[in-house]
Structure formats: structure tokens, C-alpha cells
């Protein structure tokens, strides 16, 4: 029973990670490409991590909670890096499928305190 659950989770995880990478390769401009890795891959990794937590909780003594931490850090860092990539792309005026907004680069943005 556990094995079936684990295989399903791992398969789903692999599928979502693959689709995320596919998006990275297939989509047409930088900004749309950002979407694949930030979302589909996040859920894919989530599935793999749940599978890992279940496996180690069943097969070893005690409940394995490291995966909670991994997903927590993942959910904190993935959007931040996506945001920075998009910001850098706007700054460099990368080619886009749609009109890009004019970034107000005349005055440098004040240092933000990223609290996470």
C-alpha cells in the first residue's frame, strides 16, 4: 500500500518537474519561461518531498521532518529568485512578446528589506 502511494507521488513529482523544464525549453520569451520553473517544478518537488517524508517515516524510527524544512525554504526562495530574474530582465530590456512596462530606473530603488 505504501509502495503504491510512494510510486504515485514520485511519478507525479517527476512529471511536474519534467513539465516545468519543458516549459523552460519550449516557451518563447524570457518572461513566460520564468513561469515553468517557479510553479510546475515547485509542485513536482513538493510531491517528491512528501514521498521522501513518508518513506523515511515508515522505514526508520521516528517521523522525518527535514522535508518540511526543505519545502519551507523552497517556497521562500523560489519566488524571490524568480522576482530577481524578472527584475534583471526588465532592467536589461530583454526581448518580450508583449510591451514591457518602463522601469523607473532614473532613481535607484531604495534598498528593500527583504524580510524573508
Amino acid at each position: 500500500m505504501t509502495e503504491i502511494l510512494l510510486s504515485l507521488l514520485i511519478l507525479a513529482g517527476a512529471m511536474f518537474t519534467f513539465i516545468g523544464s519543458l516549459g523552460l525549453a519550449r516557451l518563447r520569451d524570457f518572461y513566460t519561461r520564468l513561469h515553468g520553473p517557479t510553479k510546475a517544478t515547485t509542485l513536482g518537488l513538493g510531491c517528491l518531498l512528501i514521498a521522501s517524508a513518508v518513506y523515511f517515516s515508515v522505514h526508520e524510527a521516528g517521523i522525518s521532518l527535514h522535508e518540511v524544512l526543505v519545502s519551507l525554504f523552497l517556497f521562500i526562495t523560489a519566488p524571490v529568485s524568480a522576482h530577481l530574474l524578472a527584475k534583471a530582465a526588465l532592467h536589461l530590456k530583454l526581448k518580450s512578446l508583449v510591451p514591457t512596462p518602463a522601469p523607473d530606473n532614473d532613481s535607484p530603488a531604495p534598498e528593500r528589506n527583504r524580510a524573508d
Binding site: 511536474f16 513539465i19 516549459g23 519550449r26 513561469h35 510553479k39 510546475a40 524544512l69 524578472a86 531604495p110
Partner: protein
Amino acid sequence: MRRLLPHPLLSLTLALLWLLLVNQLSAGHVVLGGLLGWLIPFATSAFWLEPVRIRHPLTLLHYLGILILDIVHGSFHVAYLILRGPARLRPVFVEVPLALETPLAISLLANTISLTPGTVSALLSGDRRTLIVHALDTDDGDALVRKIKQRYEAPLKKIFEEGNDRC
């Protein structure tokens, strides 16, 4: 009290993180976690200009629930869009005018937007008044902005900024 323990929430979070990291609950680790949770806020006090206050813990829980559902839903949606092929995407940049003021709430909103269906936050304007968001596939940018404001910004405002007297 405030001088001794400047950020009680941060301390508690750090102590819990430590316990999760060592993955065992023994008295020694509780003490060590507590000690780290007490010391680290002092070392990083430059990053925490104002103490974080959570006004409505239940709203926060509700918000996290919505967020998790939306992440799952968003992943399926984006997976579908990628598989359907790039030719039929209608990407667009929208500007979300922000009602939030504290840096923490704004960064949480930006993170939320990046994690939820088809949107990535791309740029915060220099005066922190507008957030530029890239949507993967939408036919009505205004509706998207309204949705972001209602679904995510309003609860964040309620949780972190209600009753703030500074402007």
C-alpha cells in the same frame, strides 16, 4: 522586555526551525534552539526595522490554506498551459497598485503572486507603490489585478497592517 527580546515571533520561529533541523526533541536541543532564537535576532537586527506583529492569526491560517490550494491549482494550470503549447499564450504585464506599506507584507505579497496561477511578480517601483506582475495567460488584465487585490492583498493588509498608525 522589548530590549531583552526584540522580536519574539522571530525567536520562536528560529527555535522551531532549529528543532526541525536536528529532527529530535530533547531538552538539550530545546535549550540550544531557544538560545539561538534569542541571539540571532540581535545579530540580524539591522534587517528588522520594526517588530512584526500578527493581528489576526486565524486570518493568517486561512490565508495559508488559500495559498496552498492556489499553489496546487496554479501548478496544474501552468502545466496545462505549457503542454497546450506556447502559441496560444496571451502573456501580459499588469501593474498592481499597492495598498500595503510594510516591507514584510509587500514581499509576502510578491512571493504569493509568484507562487500562484500564472503570475510572476517582476518589479517593484522605486516608491513601493506599484508592483509589476507578469501574467502567463490572461485575457483580462484588470480582472487579474482585482483578483490579486481581493484575494491576497486584503488579508495581508488585515494581518500585518491593521491599526498601524504610521503612514
